[in-house]
């Protein structure tokens, strides 16, 4: 009798294993956040933004997710946040998520969001803010943001007049990578206007040497974003910031002739003679695979954002005057108004617990930027970190010469606009603009059809 019981008991035991393994995730995620509200020192804890700080949050846990998951980024984030957490008795956990875009939706809908998330797309931040998932910044954090960030960068963390996001990382997109020595050897000059730029491309293509440009737009799930960056650059250069804003806000249709002109411009430039595509076709070449051919002398120029420094092959040296060094020049403008295309990461909080807001407050400071830059430089072994912050009051010495030239271009810019595809609704900005753009580059559709289909997909 007893034996039969034992055997029979095996069934529910097996079942309950299933149940337990299903259930255990939530317990570890949800249970930790409750003590936060009870933390006694909470209200007066946030420091003046000078960094370090010495609040005590009773070991409250703050979970942070974000799209950055390369080793140096994770190492530096853990370093910086870890040190802050230790000083303030907060247990900060950062998770870099390769599929962040899909997972953050699932987490929020499942009622299990992180405390803080880094947003690479202000559009998504705005969506969550309008849906009431995000918490506005507290007055203290707002004061810190005002202290360290000029309005142009705060702007995209602001939703309907309420500040939700803190700029946590700045990307500068309007850059062209090249090897000064290769230019010197062939007798080419760095172009300062767009006309000079295209003329240079023609000269290079006619010469029997490396191709003028390296281009690749493949990026897994996000294939096509490199093309959208080019289109945004062209809209800014051809038609100026006002048209750009109207376009991004859908005040002019996507298939407006001005936009079509900008969409066609890169395609015209990317002819077979002009482009070295490492994987044969532009649509098949990973955007990350353009560093090697530039260093190998298979192409002269590559337009890509500042973070691309991290995607050059190991051992590449930057802007140190040596023959094989790689440097950047400003992607030339047409009308002399020096527009720059920027992007960046914003931190936003899903709750306003004191510990969470203390961490948010710290992320807004120059100390965070400086420390992260230092840690990341160390993590990559002393070269370019791939990190850049436009926070005010940083010690410029934490940046390498090339990174200082990024900051110089940013400072020179008269017009700065955020990556438009990140501001558009996800159906377009992370959907049809990518996919139809890829089809256009691949030669499957013409520009009018692509623009018309993107316009048709604009929600609402």
């Amino acid at each position: 009798m007893t034996k039969r019981w034992l055997k029979l008991a095996a069934v529910p035991i097996a079942l309950s294993f299933v149940a337990a393994s299903c259930g255990s995730d939530d317990e570890s995620g949800g249970g930790d956040t409750t003590p936060d509200t009870a933390a006694p020192a909470a209200t007066d804890a946030p420091d003046d933004g000078g960094g370090g700080g010495d609040g005590d949050f009773g070991g409250a846990t703050v979970t942070i997710t974000g799209p950055e998951r390369d080793d140096p980024s994770i190492a530096s984030l853990n370093d910086v946040l870890g040190a802050f957490g230790e000083a303030n008795n907060i247990n900060i956990e950062y998770t870099g998520d390769a599929d962040w875009e899909a997972n953050i939706n699932t987490q929020v809908q499942g009622g299990n969001p992180p405390n803080i998330s880094y947003f690479p797309q202000p559009g998504k931040l705005a969506d969550f803010a309008r849906a009431g998932n995000l918490k506005p910044l507290t007055d203290e954090v707002n004061a810190t943001v005002d202290e360290f960030w000029i309005d142009g960068f705060q702007l995209y963390g602001n939703v309907d007049g309420v500040q939700y996001g803190i700029p946590a990382k700045t990307d500068l997109k309007s850059l062209v990578w090249y090897q000064p020595q290769a230019f010197a050897d062939a007798g080419y000059e760095v172009p300062t206007t767009f006309a000079e730029f295209t003329a240079l491309i023609d000269t290079m293509a006619a010469a029997d040497g490396p191709k003028p440009l390296c281009v690749g737009i493949e990026s897994g799930q996000a294939t096509g974003w490199t093309y959208t960056d080019w289109v945004e650059e062209m809209v800014l250069r051809l038609h100026g910031p006002d048209v750009y804003d109207q376009w991004v806000n859908h005040e002019i249709p996507f298939d407006d002739p001005q936009i079509q002109e900008a969409m066609q411009a890169p395609v015209d430039l990317w002819t077979e003679d002009n482009v070295f595509a490492a994987a044969g076709s532009i649509a098949a070449t990973s955007f990350a695979d353009n560093g090697q051919p530039l260093v190998d002398g298979q192409c002269y120029m590559h337009r890509q954002a500042n973070f691309f420094a991290g995607l050059f092959p190991e051992g590449t040296v930057f802007a140190d005057g040596s023959p094989e060094a790689v440097d950047v020049f400003y992607f030339p403008d047409i009308n002399g108004d020096r527009p720059v295309l920027t992007a960046g990461i914003f931190a936003a909080a899903f709750d306003d617990d004191p510990a969470t807001m203390a961490v948010m407050n710290y992320i807004a400071t120059a100390d965070y930027a400086e420390k992260r830059q230092a840690a990341q430089t160390e993590a990559v072994g002393g070269g370019l970190s791939g990190y850049l912050s436009a926070a005010l009051g940083q010690d410029p010495n934490v940046y390498q010469p090339l990174e200082q030239s990024f900051l110089a271009i940013l400072a020179d810019a008269q017009i700065a606009r955020f990556d438009g595809s990140d501001l558009m609704p996800a159906d377009v900005g992370a959907g049809t603009f990518w996919s139809e753009g890829t089809s256009l580059v691949n030669g499957d559709v013409d520009v009018a059809t692509a623009a018309e289909r993107i316009e048709a997909s604009w929600p609402g």
Partner: protein, 686 residues
């Protein structure tokens, strides 16, 4: 122990030595197993001490295991009381019911005192347990029908009043009497119907149905918090009294009935949790998905069938504008030629055997291949997610089954069968994602100024270089090719001279294809074969094929991955089916003069027809849901989007929940008939 005794008895005193060693081996094995188990547990415990996450998970697991095992054993023990201690059983069972009701009401914050400390948590369940437990006990003490009815109805009424009073003000319903009447009527009718189906009196079922309907109508159809105590009473007392009266109408079961309850309860205890699981994890989500598919992107407003409609009107999912292109596509034209051949052969066969089309006669080959090519041509002319899915189903199902069958037949009973089958089965062990990554490398193209690293393009460009080159390798290949063509010609002429036309078919095909290849290779027609291009100035450079970027053929190259994986599956199953065909049948056929191929087509194939049916349907279901391959290789770019990947994109990247749910339902509905067919087939066989 049983086995040990038998061995001792069998072995007898003659052979003590092997017995001892066997026992020793068994002991050793036992010690080893026990040691391994202890080591595992110690390792786990150590890990738990070191890692906090493991510790909390382990504690959760232990608690859950103990709790569910305890619950399950308790349920069994409880039902052990049914036969001899009916009163105890009834009291406990009803008490538990009351306690659960109390917990439910309290846990959802419906009753007063919710959310304020521990004591109210206990009071509600305790009161529930006391009331219903007493009812259960008292009901076993009386057999008189009138008394039973009065007691039960009275208790129901009392319980209803109790609950109504305990309901918090925020939950008092503002009654909508139309909803109450409608729901009560509908559910009463359903209850009566079920009762009649189960061959009971319809009154009982109608009463339970009416009670549930009243609850749903009064609470579900109302604005909670708008009501008063009176409305609460109306909403609760009526169903509670109805349920009580229904219970009062039962008779106290006698011993035979109790034995019956005891026996049946075991099955319920076993299956109950599983059904509950399936219901909570499968049925409810499915229904909810169906509901969400009718709402807009934020799941807020009803949009009727707009989500479904958009799937069919969106040109990304269905684009047949250029369908006339199919008439000019090469596969279509070849297919038409093959169909023509099939008609001619069919006419000839009709004359000879009286049947134009018959399994195994020469008409079938060109007919099937012709139809396949025509459909292929049609698919290349049309675009969109739906077309792609259909294309996948047709091509993958056909090739996986056909190749699997061919390999199973050809390898059957040959030397090296096992090795060959193992190798072909191997891809099944690779995950779809892994396979996709492997094939991405196979299909990879590099810039033509560099070496090709993808196998296919390396071969293709290499062939082009050979064909257009003039060095020694080109010469060698030319000579080898020429020899092959001549050999094929010799075989062909031999067969023709002997008038064995059947044996001439293979050499004829070989001669034509090799000959054509030779002509192209040496450049008699065109400039050569392979991946190359000749510029205006005469320089020859390589040219790659963009396997997964070329619309629409990229679809086909992705299907190859699926075929590569699934062929092993169909091969293994078909192989075992072929081996299960009785040899007597085949031998009998051969004695009657059937040739090898006749024996296969006429005897073996009909025997394994059901198995083929199962494989085809399983493949269709699997292919309809294809996701991983597309996700990894192209993510739906280059005209390779399929329903499942589209669903993922819509639901999780673009957060259009309505459209995502609609696509999920669409996949479900398109798979459903095949599933039903498959299950019925399996049940018939069983």
């Amino acid at each position: 122990m049983e086995t040990l005794e038998r061995i001792e008895a069998d072995g007898g005193p003659d052979e003590p030595a092997p017995l001892e060693s066997e026992a020793a081996a068994r002991d050793a094995r036992w010690y080893f197993q026990a040691g391994a188990a202890v080591a595992t547990i110690i390792g786990l415990l150590y890990w738990a001490v070191v890692e906090e996450k493991i510790r909390s998970t382990l504690i959760t697991v232990v608690i859950t295991v103990v709790a569910s095992a305890g619950l399950w054993i308790a349920a069994n023990v409880l039902f052990d009381q049914v036969r001899s201690r009916w009163a105890t059983f009834n009291a406990i069972a009803f008490g538990l019911l009351g306690a659960v009701l109390g917990v439910l009401l309290h846990g959802n914050g419906i009753t007063v005192g919710s959310g304020s400390g521990f004591l109210p948590w206990v009071i509600g369940p305790l009161v529930g347990a006391a009331v219903l437990g007493t009812l259960g006990y008292v009901m076993t003490r009386t057999q008189d029908a009138n008394q039973r009815l009065m007691i039960a109805t009275g208790t129901g009424l009392a319980a209803g009043i109790l609950i109504a009073v305990a309901v918090r003000e925020q939950f008092q319903p503002g009654l909508d009497f139309v909803a109450i009447v409608v729901y009560t009527a509908i559910l009463a009718a359903i209850g009566a119907g079920i009762s009649i189906l189960l061959k009971h009196s319809p009154v009982g079922g109608a009463m339970i149905g009416a009670a549930i309907g009243w609850i749903v109508g009064a609470w579900g159809g109302a604005d909670l918090g708008d009501g008063s105590l009176v409305e609460s009473l109306v909403a609760t007392v009526v169903p509670a009294t109805l349920l009580g009266a229904r219970f009062g109408m039962t008779t106290d079961p006698d011993y035979a009935e109790r034995v019956n309850i005891d026996t049946h309860s075991r099955a319920t205890i076993f299956v109950g949790p599983a059904i509950l699981f399936i219901f909570a994890m499968l049925v409810v989500p499915a229904i909810r998905t169906g509901y969400l598919s009718l709402l807009d992107r934020n799941s807020e407003e009803f949009v009727d069938g707009e989500n479904y409609g958009s799937v069919f009107t969106d040109r990304n999912s269905l684009d047949v504008d250029n369908w006339t292109d199919m008439f000019t596509s090469v596969p279509f034209l070849i297919g038409v030629v093959l169909l023509g051949i099939a008609v001619v052969v069919g006419a000839a066969m009709k004359k000879r055997t009286g049947r134009a089309v018959e399994i195994g006669n020469p008409t079938v080959g060109p007919l099937v291949v012709g139809l396949l090519l025509i459909s292929f041509g049609a698919f290349t002319a049309m675009r969109g997610t739906l077309i792609n899915n259909l294309w996948w189903v047709v091509v993958v199902t056909f090739f996986s089954t056909a190749l699997g069958l061919a390999i199973a037949v050809l390898a059957d009973g040959r030397r090296g069968e096992r090795v060959a089958k193992s190798i072909i089965f191997m891809p099944m062990a690779i995950s779809l994602v892994g396979a996709s990554i492997i094939w991405r490398f196979v299909y990879l193209a590099r810039d033509t100024s560099t070496e090709q690293t993808g196998v296919m393009n390396a071969l293709w460009v290499g062939l082009g270089r050979l064909s257009t080159g003039s060095g020694l390798p080109t010469l060698i290949v030319t000579v080898v090719l020429a020899i092959c063509v001549v050999l094929a010609l010799i075989f062909l002429s031999n067969a023709l001279v002997k008038r064995e036309y059947g044996r001439a078919i293979v050499p004829a095909i070989l001669t034509v294809s090799l000959g054509w290849f030779f002509i192209r290779f040496v450049g008699i027609i065109g400039d050569g074969v392979g991946g190359f291009k000749i510029d205006d100035d005469g320089t020859v450079s390589g040219q790659t094929i963009f396997f997964v970027q070329e619309v629409p053929y990229a679809n086909f190259w992705l299907m190859v991955i699926m075929i590569w994986i699934q062929t092993g599956f169909s091969m293994v199953i078909l192989s075992s089916a072929i081996k299960a065909v009785p040899t007597e049948l085949i031998e009998a056929a051969k004695i009657d003069g059937a040739t090898e191929s006749q024996a296969f087509w006429r005897v073996v194939l009909p025997q394994i027809a059901t198995t083929i049916g199962v494989i085809v349907t399983t493949l269709i279901v699997g292919v309809m849901k294809v996701f991983d391959i597309v996700k990894v290789t192209t993510n739906g770019q280059f005209g390779t989007q399929v329903l499942a990947n589209n669903m993922f994109d819509e639901a999780f990247n673009r957060v259009n929940i309505g459209k995502g749910a609609a696509l999920a339902m669409l996949i479900f509905f398109s798979v459903l008939p095949v599933m039903i067919f498959n299950i019925r087939k399996m049940q018939q066989e069983g």
